[in-house]
Amino acid sequence: MYWYSIKTMIGRELLIAARYPAEVLNPLVFFLMVVTLFPLGISPEPEFLAKIAGPVIWIAALLAMMLSLDSLFKNDFDDGSLAQLLITPSPLAVLILVKVLTHWFTTVFPIILLAPLLGAMLQLPAEGYRALLLTLLLGTPIISLIGAIGAALTVGLHRGGVLLSLIVLPLFIPILVFGTGAIEAATLAMQYNGQLAMLSAMLLIALLVTPIATAAALKISINN
C-alpha cells in the first residue's frame, strides 16, 4: 500500500516539474551565469582559473539550490495539498523524503550534469573532474535535505526566502569545505577518500534524520 503512495508521489512531482519548466530552468541558468561571471570579473588567466574552478562551481551550485529551495513546499502550502499530505495515514516522513529527492533530481541533477562543462571552461585540471562530480553527487542531496527543514519552517511566511538563507546557509559550510577540499586534493594528485567518506556519512545521517525534522517543521508551520 505504501509503495503505491510513494510511486504516485514521485510521478506527481515529476509531472509538476515538467509542467513548470521554469522551476527547473531558472536555477540552471543562474548557475551557468554566475560561473561565467568569474573569468569575466576577476581574470581569464588559465592558472588562476584552474585554482578557483572547484570552489566557484561549488558555490554557484549552492546558491542556485538556494533559489529553488524556497519553492519546495510553497505551492503545496498555498493550494492546500500540504494539509492533505500532513493528515495522510501513509508514513509522512517517507513521502517527504521522496518529495525532497525528486525535487533534487529535477532541479539539481541538471546542474551536476552541466558542471564538467563549466569545469572545462574554468580550466579545471583533468584530475579534478572525478572529484567534482563525486562531491556534487554526495554533497548536493545533503543540501536539499537540510534546506528542506528551513523551507518547511519558513513556508508560511511571506518573503521567507531571506530568512531561509539565513537559517540554512551556515549549515552548508562543512559540506562546502569537504567538497572543495576533495577537489583541491584531487588536482594536487592527493588522496581524497577522507572527504568523500565524510560527505557520505553526512548524507546517510541527513537521509535518516532530516525527513522527520522536516515533517515536524511542516506541522509547526501549518499550525500558525
Binding site: I16, R19, Y20, D78, S81, A83, I87, P89, S90, N223
Partner: protein, 212 residues
C-alpha cells in the same frame, strides 16, 4: 444505543489572546450530520482543523473510538476526510491526476472510480484538463468528487467527512447533488462535520454547534 465515534472534550483555542472557544465538548453518533455555526471569525475553520488533527487545541482532546486522535493517528486518518478552504487541488495537474494523488495518500488505487466520480460531478470531458483552466466552481467540484470515491470504495460506514464551506462557488444543481451525497453518506452510518451558511434539506439526524 450506538456509541459515539467522535468525541471532543473541553476544547479551548485562542489566537494571540483572542479566545475563540473554551469548554467545548460534543460527541458525534454514526449517521449524524453536525453543523458548525457562528459568525465570521468565530473559529469554525479552526475547530475543523483541530478535528482533522492539523492543529492541536490549547486544551482538551479529540477522541476517535475512545482513543485520542493524535495517538494511533493512522486509524483516524484512514477514516477521516478533510476538505478545507483550499481544496488541495493543484492547478498544474488535471482532475484525474489530482484525485489519483489524493487517493494514493489513503492507500487507494484508481480502478475506474475517478472516472465515475468525475462524471457524477458533472465534470465528464474535463478529466484531463489542468485544473488551473477550470472555473472556481468546477475546481471545487473536483475536490468534492473525492466524497464520491470514498463512498463506493469503503465498506466501512464509519467514515467522517470534515467539510469547510463546501458550497462555495457551487451552482444550484451542485448544491442539490452534494446534499444528496451527504444524506446518503449519513444513512449508511457516516458522519459529516460541516460549516456552511446554506440550509440543507437533510433527512438524517443533525446537531448544531454554535460558536462565538
Amino acid at each position: 444505543m450506538p456509541q459515539a465515534l467522535l468525541r471532543a472534550e473541553n476544547l479551548r483555542f485562542e489566537y494571540d489572546d483572542l479566545l475563540l472557544f473554551e469548554q467545548l465538548s460534543f460527541s458525534v453518533m454514526p449517521g449524524e450530520v453536525v453543523y458548525i455555526e457562528g459568525p465570521n471569525g468565530s473559529g469554525k475553520t479552526t475547530l475543523l482543523k483541530i478535528l482533522s488533527g492539523l492543529i492541536d487545541p490549547i486544551e482538551g482532546q479529540v477522541y476517535w473510538q475512545d482513543k485520542p486522535i493524535n495517538r494511533g493517528a493512522r486509524t483516524y486518518q484512514q477514516a477521516m476526510l478533510y476538505q478545507g478552504h483550499q481544496s488541495g487541488i493543484k492547478d498544474s495537474l488535471s482532475a484525474r491526476e489530482n484525485l489519483k494523488w489524493l487517493m494514493s495518500l489513503k492507500g487507494l488505487r484508481d480502478v475506474g472510480q475517478i472516472e465515475e466520480a468525475l462524471a457524477a460531478s458533472n465534470l465528464a470531458g474535463f478529466e484531463d484538463i489542468p485544473c488551473g483552466h477550470l472555473s472556481a466552481g468546477q475546481k471545487r467540484r473536483v475536490g468534492l468528487a473525492r466524497l464520491l470515491i470514498n463512498d463506493d470504495n469503503h465498506q466501512t460506514a464509519e467514515k467522517l467527512w470534515i467539510l469547510d464551506e463546501p458550497f462555495t462557488a457551487i451552482d444550484k444543481s451542485g448544491v442539490a447533488a452534494l446534499e444528496a451525497t451527504i444524506n446518503k453518506h449519513a444513512q449508511r452510518g457516516g458522519m459529516v462535520m460541516i460549516t456552511t451558511h446554506q440550509e440543507m434539506q437533510l433527512t438524517v439526524p443533525t446537531q448544531r454547534i454554535v460558536l462565538g
